[in-house]
Amino acid sequence: MTTSVRQDVLTAPRAPDGTAAFDRAIATSPWRSALGVLARDPSAIVGMCILLVLALTALAAPVVAPYDPRAQPDILALKHLPPSLGHPFGTDYLSRDVLSRIVYGSRVSLSVAFLSVVVAATIGMGYGAIAGYVGGKLDNVMMRVVDALLSIPRVLLLIAVAALWWDKLGLPGLVLLLGLTGWFEVSRLVRALVLSAREDEFVTAARALGATDTRILVHHVLPQVVSPVLVAATLAIGNVIVIEAGLTYLGMGVRPPNASWGSIFNDGMRDVAGAWWVSVSAGAALVITVLAVNLVADGLRQALNARQLPAR
């Protein structure tokens, strides 16, 4: 496909209306052209700016946070203080500053989500590529297994695995768990893409030239898979942030002394009728992040022209 675009660029000097028939950037690199589309999409830019600010805040947490997130200065006099200038988001049931806890919590929430999606995307790409490329009976069996795994609601699957492994489940375990339950859809997507890429004529040509299966898969098939997977993975980050927070709210995710936004939400639910600001601000942090991720994913989908992907 890329070769034909280059051919057209070489042979078509000008379009009738006088503009260049093809943006030269499109012909030189699909990635650069995608970046160009993305840079002209205001909502994607807003999303990226929000994510950038969040990432910087997480990195610079000790500088940004006004208080020590674990300090409990006075659990009787200073507990459940409503929002004020000194404590913009109030204090929680142990007199801890909610803003500082949210700033530090972003480290856990964001890194757990990001790392587990990396795990999920890696497994999903490997599994889907093998199923799609080998095909036949193996493909059939592998995809039935994915069907079965997809038919179990992910939250219930997570509860079951977390129940069995609870004693060994630290933060790395949680990342692994979220990754191991997140690759099913990616693998289905990759399989479908590989299946169609396998039929491409340049793959036949490569095979005729004597390329090995590994070479064809790595050099000719997988590059076509990367951009749809990137969009799916971006959407998945937003999903996983919410799932992790939900699991933590149910008491099955991040455990003290670590705290994610889910932990702060859970602390607030002890007395949501009285001290509403704890859960509301933790939730607002979640909503803003997920919204930003979804805006970026929407922009990426359009920029990479990966329209076959489902909307969230």
Partner: protein
């Protein structure tokens, strides 16, 4: 149609068989066994522990345990719930109807809202109203279930004291209510949890419906209908929507796992005694049989719901039957 049904049932059965096998594998890959948390105490003698494990067949070879597990499962026997009286299946049987009521209501509401909003948007695509609605549904789709549930709880139950805060019925007053009063009581308890779930999934349904209608509207038969003088409203609702509903019906089966997953959190916030709340409680009590049973039951609900959705799809679209 019969062949379509048979193929779909066989596929569903295979999926449930694999899910059951995986859950067996999961239990046996995990450290210890279902008894280790309750039995591993110095106060219990090794012979007593061995006797307990032997009573549940845990000392047998793995292959034999697997066959036994499948056999028991086929008879609906999930083993004893060792932290609450009675078999695990009894606890599930109490919870499933509540979850079905919640999910059924949410499903119907979400499709009604989603289809209406999506069609409304498609009829004026590109207008300001369309863009505002689109942005609103993107925001709603980004809300975590438990957070929206907590906010509705806070506003409608705690602040306005307009609706009850949790449970399926008013446990104190229910017995003394008239039949109509009981129904109203159930509906009042159902309102907030069902609305939470429905709002969230209606957002993505609206996006699908809008896209599906926009695919149909430029087609020739729509132009023909317009040319014949059919009014815009009739074209939209009678001619276009009927065809644009097909992709949305496919969404019905696909939305079930997400809906059930969301129900787990919503049930927790509103103390709704369903499958999700049971699984959560069993998790904290280390009651593996009930946790696994709830998980498998979730898979069964999704598979059966998927088959029903596919049949519905086949009923309205003859092309699906032929495939």
């Amino acid at each position: 149609m019969r062949r379509f049904l048979a193929r779909r049932l066989a596929h569903g059965a295979a999926v449930i068989f694999i899910a059951a096998s995986l859950s067996f594998l999961l239990v046996h890959l995990a450290p210890g066994d279902p008894f280790s948390s309750t039995l591993d105490s110095a106060a219990i003698s090794p012979s007593a522990k061995a006797a307990w494990r032997a009573a549940y067949g845990l000392d047998r070879p793995l292959a034999e345990q697997y066959v036994r597990f499948l056999g028991q499962l086929a008879r609906g026997n999930l083993g004893p719930s060792h932290l609450q009286p009675g078999p695990a299946s009894a606890a599930l049987a109490d919870a499933v109807p509540n979850t079905l009521v919640l999910m059924g209501t949410a499903l119907v509401l979400s499709f009604l809202i989603g289809i209406a909003v999506g069609s409304w948007q498609a009829a004026r695509a590109g207008s300001r109203g369309d863009r505002v609605m689109g942005a609103t549904s993107l925001i709603i789709a980004s809300l975590p279930e438990f957070w929206l549930a907590a906010m509705l709880l806070l506003v409608f139950a705690y602040r306005l004291r307009f609706l009850p805060a949790g449970d399926v019925i008013d446990r104190v007053m229910y017995e003394s209510m008239s039949p109509a009063g009981r129904l109203l009581d159930r509906l009042r308890h159902l309102a907030l949890p069902a609305l939470t779930l429905a709002l969230l999934s209606s957002a993505s349904i609206a996006r699908y419906q809008r896209a599906a209608l926009l695919d149909v509207l430029p087609q020739d038969f729509i132009r023909t209908a317009r040319a014949k003088g059919v009014s815009d409203r009739l074209v939209l609702w009678r001619h276009a929507l009927r065809n644009a509903l097909l992709p949305t019906i496919v969404l019905l089966g696909l939305s079930l796992p997400t809906l059930l997953g969301g129900a787990v959190f919503v049930e927790q916030v509103f103390s709704w005694p369903g499958l999700g709340r049971l699984a959560t409680a069993a998790f904290h009590a280390r009651d593996y049989q009930v946790v696994l049973g709830a998980t498998l039951m979730g898979a069964v609900l999704v598979v059966v719901g998927g088959i029903v959705a596919d049949l519905l799809h086949a009923a309205v679209d003859p092309r699906v039957r032929a495939r």
